[in-house]
């Protein structure tokens, strides 16, 4: 496992592809004579990041706080809801339809409402992140907990397992692969949630930076903010993947190929 993760064969194609993209972008901007207020070349974006790191880092801190708080609340709510749904038919039939229906409402449209209700501080953005991310967490956990093998359940019962022991020693570990898949989806869209929340009210955070830079046609700053958001999204996904590899060392997905 580890030799694969660390080997150059894994990273080199990714790095080459990214570098090629940046070079094509840079050459295209200069070659076609595109005005820098329309499309900033990568050199200008990285120059901006280098010249005024404080601006972006400070705002990135705000956005990251919203994302991490929202993500943590999502997982807590998701675990409670999924456990209840799997545990009880009554909870499943009452709560599950509401959860599904809630996802048909465009959360994007709810964001302005939430700002009015909760206020313009960080909590309104956290709530938007939660609304975006709890669904994949709940769905993946419910699927995971349900994927338990009934023969395994019977085996544990013949060994005298209580329902709680069956849940903790069989269902929870069985659900982990699905749970991590859902967490990876949630990690990516949590960034979207935070930015959308910030667009509607914030004076802090990378979403706010984008709005201000956009009205000033300050392309290097705008692209710098987008780049920073991408880094946050990638970082969160990598973090979830690393925890997944530790937790699922036994699972087929982490076996040496």
């Amino acid at each position: 496992m580890s030799y694969l993760r660390n080997s150059a064969a894994v990273w080199v194609p990714t790095v080459i592809a990214l570098a090629t993209l940046l070079v094509v972008w840079e050459v295209a901007v200069w070659g076609f004579g595109i005005e820098s207020w329309l499309l900033a070349p990568p050199s200008a974006v990285f120059g901006e990041l280098y010249d005024s790191p404080g601006l972006l880092v400070g705002h990135a801190g705000t956005t990251l706080t919203e994302i991490i708080l929202g993500f943590a609340i999502s997982i807590s709510i998701g675990v409670v809801l999924a456990t209840g749904i799997v545990w009880s038919r009554v909870i499943e039939r009452s709560v599950f339809p509401i959860i599904i229906a809630s996802q048909t409402i465009p959360i994007f449209a709810l964001a302005p409402l939430l700002i009015i209700w909760i206020g313009t501080d960080i909590m309104s953005k956290v709530v938007v992140v939660v609304l975006f991310t709890f669904f994949p967490v709940v769905i993946s956990l419910v699927t995971g907990l349900r994927s338990v093998d009934s023969e395994m359940v019977d085996m544990l019962r013949t060994l005298g397992a209580t329902p709680y022991q069956t849940f903790s020693k069989l269902m929870v570990p069985t659900a982990l692969p699905n749970f991590f898949a859902g967490m990876k989806v949630a990690a990516v869209i949590s960034v979207i949630g935070a930015v959308i929340g910030e667009w509607f009210s914030a004076d802090r955070g990378l979403g706010a930076v984008i709005i201000v830079a956009h009205s000033n046609l300050d392309m290097p700053t705008l692209f710098g903010a987008i780049f920073t958001l991408a880094v946050i999204g990638i970082g969160l996904t990598v973090l979830v993947s690393l925890i997944e590899r530790k937790a699922l060392f036994w699972h087929e997905s982490s076996f040496p190929v």
Binding site: T158, L159, P173, W250
Partner: protein, 283 residues
């Protein structure tokens, strides 16, 4: 389905080594496992009908029957996973459903090892569920692991083991809680022939040391004769016991693969196969 009932209690044969046993269950004092008049319905279809059997301490009884005759269902009823629609099941004199779960050792056809646990952690699962501490239960696993040929793989993960080894871990897990009754459901069914015959021999050696009542379910007649002191023959639709054959082979002293080609072994096998095919005929 009338004609089959003629086989119940039939005198099976007079040839050497085989004796017919006219009545079910065999008369015995205080059997560890006693099943009387048990029936089971699933969606108003009779899966099992009027099952009587008894297994004494130190006795190994094999139950043979075609696929789908309800053999595994019977084990699920005895272990307490399912509740019978009719009749009684007594384990060590106790006749209550709740008390059987956790008190009958049951090894299924699949090894059902938890993939996130090491061999040792899988082996001690039954003890762990009873609240025995990790140190103590791991010591018990290590103690048994020697005779199970698992001493070197206690720290391995299940996917690193061969099929035969996985089955031995499953048996160890089933045996560790030290219940008086052991149920085996096609324990070697998924293994290749060579591994299977090795494990059959090994199983007899391991179990001789344990004072248990063992009930083995199989569709392999040779396995039933090799392992069983008695063989019960089942017929399907609905599942019921149609005959009982006592195994008392002169050639039993002959160890190893030659036993299955000995004359009395082959003769016993022919008798049981006849009983099976008669039972399988749809009336």
């Amino acid at each position: 389905m009338g004609s089959i009932s003629g086989w119940t209690g039939a005198v099976v044969g007079q040839r050497s080594g085989i004796s017919g046993v006219p009545d079910q269950p065999s008369a015995s004092q205080d059997p560890l496992l006693a099943v009387s008049g048990v029936g089971f319905q699933y969606e108003s279809i009779d899966v099992l009908e009027d099952i009587d059997l008894a297994v004494d301490r130190g006795e190994f009884v094999a139950l043979v029957g075609p696929s789908g005759c309800g053999k595994s269902t019977l084990l699920n009823l005895i272990s307490g996973v399912l509740a019978p629609s009719a009749g009684h099941i007594e384990v060590a004199g106790v006749n209550e459903l709740v008390s059987r779960l956790g008190h009958v050792s049951y090894m299924q056809q699949k090894d059902l090892l938890l993939p996130w646990r090491t061999v040792s952690e899988n082996g001690r699962l039954g003890l762990e569920l009873r609240g025995v501490g990790a140190t103590e239960s791991e010591a018990e696993v290590a103690h048994l692991a020697e005779s199970f040929g698992l001493a070197d793989v206690l720290g391995s993960m299940p996917w690193q083991l061969s099929g035969g080894m996985r089955q031995r871990v499953a048996l160890l897990r089933a045996l560790l809680p030290d219940n008086a009754v052991l149920l085996l459901d096609e324990p070697f069914g998924a293994l290749d022939a060579i591994t299977r015959s090795g494990l059959q021999q090994w199983l007899l050696n391991v179990l001789d040391r344990a004072e248990k009542a063992v009930l083995l379910v199989t569709h392999d007649v040779e396995e039933a004769i090799l392992l069983g002191d008695r063989v019960l023959v089942m017929a399907p639709d609905p599942g019921r016991i149609v005959a009982e054959v006592e195994i008392n082979l002169d050639s039993a002293a002959t160890n190893g693969p030659r036993i299955t080609t000995a004359r009395d072994f082959v003769e016993t096998k022919r008798q049981i196969l006849e009983l099976l095919s008669n039972g399988a005929v749809s009336p």
